[in-house]
């Protein structure tokens, strides 16, 4: 029985990683930027939610909408200020500005809200469901459901709509995309908006699940979500979901049955082994450069 309970724990944790990883991979898939500030937008989302609930007394849905909107806005601003001018620069330059933005957000929020962790208000009452000796709570279920729904929606947007095609085209060749009449700036802003809104939603949901928010809360989940995204095949949306879940379960099982001390090392080892065997991640397509 314990093993099934641990599996549930793992899936619950994994869907948190997945939720953040989806936004990560979305942005990556379109503009090939490892947006290290993504974890911090997630943090910002949690704070926006906090303000919405604790200061403005909003309910769950309005708070969620507000947080997503503000996060999207933040994402767009970051893109316009820090990334846009660097579109033709080496990608690693963007990586550095992303790191800079990440530091800026962390310290900015520390100054505004203070370094002290804030308790996230209890927006949804936690309900624990018992199935025999197994337990799972409603918030875990919600996060899980939200991640799956998001993957489906985004997958639809990216692969089935005209905008999605424009996104993918822009991701490959901005100039050629312009020559098709695509407004690349708008498409990239949109991509950032969606990715950031997802991070914002993640911030709120995780805030509810683990009600402690602080300015540096985005670093580790950001890193782990990135790992999850790569594990699943970076740029591949269902890959992010799968990668997140695999990581959650692997982490939980490691803690439960091997060693809690080494769990992080083991997670990274799994990642490395997977990449060595399958260099493009679990669901990544082996794309060999045509010579």
């Amino acid at each position: 029985m314990e093993i099934i309970q641990q599996l549930l724990n793992g899936l619950a944790l994994g869907s948190v990683y997945a939720l953040i990883a989806i936004g990560y991979t979305m942005v990556y898939g379109i503009i090939k930027l490892i947006n290290f500030a993504h974890g911090d937008i997630y943090m910002a989302g949690a704070y926006f939610g906090y303000v919405a609930v604790a200061r403005l007394n909003l309910g769950f849905i309005p708070a969620l909408i507000l947080a997503m909107t503000l996060s999207a806005l933040l994402g767009i601003i970051i893109e316009k200020v820090a990334y846009k001018r660097l579109r033709n620069s080496p990608r690693i330059t963007l990586l550095i500005t992303a790191i800079g933005m990440s530091l800026l957000l962390e310290n900015g929020f520390r100054l505004i809200f203070g370094p002290n962790p804030k308790p996230f208000p209890e927006l949804l009452k936690t309900k624990i469901f018992h199935l025999g000796s197994l337990r799972i709570n409603n918030i875990q279920l919600i996060i899980f459901a939200v991640s799956i729904v998001l993957v489906i929606i985004l997958e639809y947007i990216v692969f089935k709509t005209k905008t999605g095609k424009a996104m993918r085209a822009s991701s490959y060749d901005i100039e050629a995309a312009k020559l098709m009449g695509i407004n690349v700036d708008k498409i990239i802003s949109l991509t950032f908006a969606i990715g950031s809104a997802l991070a914002g939603a993640g911030g709120i949901l995780v805030g509810i699940a683990y009600p402690r928010i602080e300015p540096y809360m985005g670093i580790m989940p950001g890193l782990k979500a990135f790992v999850a995204a790569v594990l699943g095949g970076i740029g591949v949306l269902p890959g992010a979901m799968l990668g997140g879940l695999v990581m959650g379960v692997a982490e939980t099982f490691t803690k439960a049955f091997i060693s809690t001390k080494l769990s992080d090392a083991i997670i990274f080892s799994i990642l490395i082994v997977v990449l060595i065997v399958k260099p493009d991640g679990l669901l990544g397509k082996q794309i060999k450069e045509k010579v």
Binding site: A82, S89, T93, G100, L111, S269
Partner: protein, 330 residues
């Protein structure tokens, strides 16, 4: 050949003069221990930056685990000093070698990965090293390793930094360096020109690990204390920042960027809690302002500097008249 010898001689003199000036300033206390320490940190950072530049800037492989190798070298050297009482230099070299060997073992499976996948695996290895250290009680675990003798001083750092820069410069300006550059430029074409890319990538990676290990040893014997958290992925990012801000594939760029970015946080201390904000904002601004880094992939040309010295200072102009400016080599 004679010209070359002259140049070397002049450079040698310049290097010794700079050393003597700083040495005297420190000895007389005109440069107090605070500034002395910043200089030492600067040297360590330069070693880290130029060695990482060999992998990232010259060979084009995005590696994000440099801090991990620094910690391997640091801990090894510290243990050599603490438990075996070895002379400082020997401890340092052993630290570097152990780091290089581990670099080799890690490099074997992962160097065939590309781009972001390589980045995340190297980052992963950096973290694995950190977690491993946390769990090794003989290294002090999370409490850190204390009581390392204070052996690092300005002289050691100055000359080791100098040698590191010279060695890496000499590698770059050799067939080995060209082979590495060709990998950065186009791996498929490089292989088609008879370059065993895996071998050269490995070489760059191992050499960089070695020097990161040396830097770690210097760090350990300067701060007399090591803790695993000091070598997490954020530290690797910091080193990466030096490299990118200096210009990928430019040693002189790395030198300048490291100097600026090592001093900047100290200068900003007066801003207290706004310090990190200003630092982060300047970082973003610097990159927006010069996306290719201070030097791009160019170097300050020594020959021009020599001419500058000869012409302006010694009044032995080769060219006739005209304003002279220090130009940049292609």
């Amino acid at each position: 050949m004679k010209k070359l010898k002259n140049l070397k001689l002049i450079l040698g003199i310049v290097v010794m003069v700079i050393y003597s000036i700083f040495f005297l300033l420190i000895q007389t206390g005109a440069l107090n221990p605070y500034y002395g320490q910043i200089l030492i940190v600067l040297g360590i950072n330069i070693i880290l930056a130029v060695s990482l530049n060999l992998v990232i800037g010259f060979t084009g492989q995005l590696a994000l685990g440099h801090a991990g190798f620094m910690s391997i070298g640091g801990y090894t050297a510290a243990i050599m000093s603490l438990n075996y009482n070895l002379p400082f230099f020997i401890s340092l070299v052993i630290g570097g070698l152990v780091s290089a060997v581990i670099g080799f073992l890690i490099g074997m499976p992962i160097l065939r990965l590309k781009g972001d996948y390589l980045a995340i695996t190297t980052l992963g290895f950096g973290e694995i090293i950190r977690v491993a250290v946390v769990n090794m009680d003989f290294l002090g675990g999370p409490r850190g390793l204390a009581g390392i003798p204070k052996k690092t001083n300005f002289t050691w750092v100055y000359f080791i930094t100098l040698f590191t820069v010279i060695i890496i410069y000499n590698i770059i300006r050799s067939p080995y360096g060209r082979a590495m550059l060709s990998i950065r430029e186009d791996e498929i074409a490089s292989e088609s020109m008879g370059i065993n890319t895996t071998k050269f990538k490995m070489m760059a990676f191992v050499i960089a690990s070695f020097f990161a290990g040396i830097a770690g040893g210097l760090y350990a014997h300067q701060f007399m204390f090591l803790d695993p958290k000091s070598f997490d992925f954020l530290k690797s990012f910091e080193i990466l920042t030096f490299v990118v801000f200096g210009g990928m594939g430019s040693l002189s760029g790395s030198l300048m960027a490291t100097t600026v970015l090592t001093y900047l946080p100290e200068v900003l201390r007066t801003f207290a809690e706004y310090r990190m904000i200003i630092y982060a904002a300047s970082l973003v601004m610097l990159m927006l302002f010069r996306p290719q880094g201070i030097m791009g992939n160019k170097e300050i040309n020594l020959a021009h500097i020599k001419e500058f010295i000869l012409c302006k200072l010694l009044r032995k102009c080769k060219k006739k008249g005209g304003a002279f400016n220090v130009t940049i080599e292609g």
